[in-house]
Symmetry: C2
Subunit: 445 residues, 2 copies
Amino acid sequence: MAESKKLHLTAFMRPVSLHTGAWRYPGAYADANFNLGHLKSFIQKLEAAKFDAFFMADHLAVLNMPVEALKRSHTVTSFEPFTLLSALSVVTERIGLAATASTTYDEPYHVARRFASLDHLSSGRAGWNIVTTGNPESSKNFGRDEHLEHSERYKRAREFYDVVTGLWDSFADDAFVRDPASGVYFDPDKLHVLNHKGDDLAVRGPLNMARPVQGWPVIIQAGQSDPGRQLAAETAEAVFCSPRDLASAKALYADIKGRAAAAGRSREHLKILPAAFIVVGDSAEDARAKRLKLDSLVHYDSAIASLSVALGSDATGFDPDAPLPVDQIPDTNASKTSLASVLKLAADEQLTVRQLAGRYGGYSGLAFVGTPQTIADEMAVWLAEEAADGFTVVFPFLPQGLDDVTLKLVPELQRRGLFREDYEGTTLREHLGLPRPENRFFPKS
Amino acid sequence: MAESKKLHLTAFMRPVSLHTGAWRYPGAYADANFNLGHLKSFIQKLEAAKFDAFFMADHLAVLNMPVEALKRSHTVTSFEPFTLLSALSVVTERIGLAATASTTYDEPYHVARRFASLDHLSSGRAGWNIVTTGNPESSKNFGRDEHLEHSERYKRAREFYDVVTGLWDSFADDAFVRDPASGVYFDPDKLHVLNHKGDDLAVRGPLNMARPVQGWPVIIQAGQSDPGRQLAAETAEAVFCSPRDLASAKALYADIKGRAAAAGRSREHLKILPAAFIVVGDSAEDARAKRLKLDSLVHYDSAIASLSVALGSDATGFDPDAPLPVDQIPDTNASKTSLASVLKLAADEQLTVRQLAGRYGGYSGLAFVGTPQTIADEMAVWLAEEAADGFTVVFPFLPQGLDDVTLKLVPELQRRGLFREDYEGTTLREHLGLPRPENRFFPKS
């Protein structure tokens, strides 16, 4: 009998959480941005729960926010993810370590080298989240007044991927003979000079790095635009995405896997992992109360600004403690989809303006809020209906929101056979069920 | 009574040693380039010996060598230093962690961010070796056919330094209030936007990083050219240099400290640390024999090519086991200084062609070869005569050559009061006796 399909779980981390109110939550580590001890404890708990990977989100700029919102945000500063993951590789043994590198504002030689090095340091646990960097503020930190145009960014990203993977293949896996008797350290016939000259990049190579333990670190992608999906289909092995509900997730899943198959790739070798904000409670009411409490910690000045953006019109004049005055929302050119989802949320959860504002100022993406049993039920449906191969878990607050997942939800998933009881392999590729890429310049046969 | 002047000692590391024959030396860890366990043991031994810092040398390319030499070299590949030092920060508590970043082939925002992050991870132990990257092969890995011209590189380096240090000063030291009650995470009046627009760089800022623990990581420089010395005098707090003897070291020391004073800086806040290859033996003869043994492990094909370069003419026709045939060396346009130093070395140490070749193919810079007592005598003279504030120690082979220094030479230096018995501070700045820089945008008074 074939083993039943299992979920993959990765943690999508910011040191204090992605939720902007989280640093004020009771028990939160407000100083976690520069406190290695807290980050050690988080990753070790995730490893004990057998998570596939620990992914640290990143920005290449202080985000452009009104100062009233900015000063309340814990996401402005933190450890740089690459140095952080390198440090965390030493205090963990199995969990994958994924970081972002920008194809727009970095050099392929540097990117290839750092990920290869992290892969060696961690004995095969590195993953590269390819981003083209959508935040236009970043361009100003890298000598450009104008952000590179969207399709140009994706064209460069595709070439950048070819160069980075080509650099990883600079040496055959068995190039290093290190024979003291003959004095030969490596076989020069097993060294390839890339000599890449393309539209956007010229990189000679070879990389000054032995081939990574995984052959290549795992390739991750998060884009949802058309060129983003196409890049994912052609290159990614894991996709972080943000569908809002089961129906849109199924459509996205089918689209990306279909594109991958059309590009000649196996559908199995590309894992779709929607981001899911998970709030676990002892009862449905307890979970809902935790979330409302968290949302209430987003300062109203920031929160109402976010709700105004979602509505497409100024909401600051509304009574915070009354229901949303639907008849006072003007018909603007703003996104109908966004407006419709605010109205639906307000109706479904019977939220006041203040509560809605806290939701939009905090975290308004896909969420599973309930008991371990109800959340496991939902996850099982997503897996069975081909909406997801697993989830990119967003913790509402730390450390408790993480503990709720690792100590309550994960055991429930394990009990149902939906999640591994222990790691079966040692590398991130093995956790995700991905093959080790052959060296394109030194094929095995 | 004022305490007597003490030496500073930093370790100038490649995982297998800088000496090209070292991987073949008995007991060597030939696989150390990608073996974290070995590097952990090295740095922990250096920390136990109270070294100021562990510095990992770097290249941005596979060096351009004839394939016969290249295939025998262990220096072609290794961990990338930044990921490595981040990992090693977790297994050490006091020793400084210094790495190179290129001002020619990197972005100031990335450089500022990574060093700030390492400084936070290590609680104030990071040092930045500013290099302009002299190896022309590197340009081809970064999209340029031609290497940036020397004076242009230094002009850009000076501006790059201003930008990086300016980015480190983005936040006042006390910007982060993290007050849950008011919901204010940081004081926006304590955030400075750099808005740098110069000849070579345009960087808006702010850096998305709290101010480093040390204010700024320690600034290190290694250039010896005229613009290199001037950059060091204006910016560096520690200088790695390569004088060949006491007289030239004193001249270099006086020149760089004089330039620093002329630039309005304290002579005490710039430490001159010549690179010294140290071979410790139980007797002078034992030390000399170790070195000859090591030099003999450089393959003759590589070694004789290096000697030919030093002589300025082809040496491959000479009898390897005879003395250097001085009358057969043609008078070429090659450097007279280099030729003269080969002839002096051959005469002083009575070396055969093979032994000379091994020296030039291995490591031919300043060396202290002797017993702990004779080496301590030499170091005391260099310190007393203002030729050095300490040394950048190059180990001949690992682990034994390192153990010889930490277990035999360091105790002798400590006995004489020339080296610390224990760390007195916790940061690299404190080890080196350097002040914490004031934030230029948020002065204390």
